[in-house]
Symmetry: C3
């Protein structure tokens, strides 16, 4: 009788406390929302995985490196933000003034910025995966990103999404 | 034998009928999608929670109140919509003509607008939470929003997301 | 003893391998993300449902047909993309040059485009539903879309979302 469904039980309990977010957007406001949810959840004991893809990878970029890249990749890489402070808003961007005001308001209210939130996420054990295909298409190299990342494909992402109790696309 | 997993069963049944949406976007079209899903689900007996954060709070705003606010907050509050009819589209906005056409088409097809959908949501028992941090950063006061809202932080939102069978970020 | 929870078990197992995505966005990059996840998941044995609504329906459009449509619907239909190659990016659109570069980079890296991904999705058994209300509001007719689609309302979408283990809004 003790053998009734011995394995699914822990799996389900496990799944009930896990969250996987696909971080697609590179907008400062959406990244703050994603990272705030992730760090809050991790601090509450939830097992959190963030899968950064497409523009979302901007959140992790710390420097530009054009070495060995094609002309088109260099052009694209110039346009992509290389620091959290270069991120733009999803609306009310107002030619770059929106983010300036927004960061000012957040600082006044003691809300962490994207760069700080990435550090917090790592500190509280949020697992951070980066989409290899996006890196390839956008011509980004690993040494342009923060440390402590894993690189994987869509299959890993799907496995995490299907295995988690909560899944979001941001 | 009847005691095998007595407690998880109701929890799971409960979770199987609940939906939590983080409403981040302030775009008219996305708000209509979010509120249509929420009201349809609630009408079908699903327990629905909407967590309004960042621009999504625009859906709930009915009037402007500048009293006691800083200059920067006044400026930001002027730019944020104060009525559902001032909301813009996520694309094809065409300097404000897009929403006009869109509302016209929806009215002709008897589709409810954002303001009506918020009223329906309240009537069918959708729980509506508002992110306190966003209110604080954007300098919005509670008397600018519709009645019947709860105000909470990210932790409440995470609890709802992890505890629900279905979670969306809109 | 074999009768302990005979019915919930298959349901849960079923739910544990199912994914429902609301495809709201008409941006090329978001559609590629949605379709890549969907086709990867289906190839891994996950039962996938895509519910196309609002701008997302653009991904399925192959030709324009103005017959019997009102003037406003004709105008809107002209603005909506009629081929996967007319889709724009969610950012860095650069007056239409962004998508050109993006498609070039993807082709070089052997990443499938939206049209090919829709074909792959159908081939691997992804169920594709289209929101009837959106079709009605936007004045689109079924013969403008690819074959093999189902047309349904919000209630069907909610049922799929609540019954799936994984749900995303893209």
């Amino acid at each position: 009788m003790h053998l009734v469904q011995p394995s699914p039980a822990p799996d389900r309990a496990e799944a009930a406390r896990s969250m996987t977010c696909v971080v697609f957007s590179g907008d400062m406001d959406k990244l703050i929302a994603a990272l705030s949810l992730a760090t809050s959840a991790a601090a509450m004991g939830v097992q959190v995985t963030l899968f950064f893809t497409f523009w979302g990878i901007s959140a992790l970029r710390t420097r530009k490196n054009y070495q060995g890249k094609s002309l088109l990749h260099r052009a694209l890489n110039t346009l992509l933000p290389a620091r959290a402070s270069q991120l733009t808003l999803s609306r009310k961007n107002m030619l770059g003034m929106g983010p300036v005001f927004f960061r000012h308001l957040m600082r006044k209210k003691n809300v962490a910025n994207v760069h700080e939130l990435v550090e917090v996420a790592r500190a509280v054990g949020v697992r951070m995966l980066v989409c290899s295909m996006s890196m390839d298409v956008m011509g980004l190299s690993r040494d342009e990103l923060v440390d402590g990342l894993e690189f994987s494909g869509a299959a890993t992402c799907v496995n995490d999404l299907v295995g988690s109790s909560t899944s979001l696309f941001i």
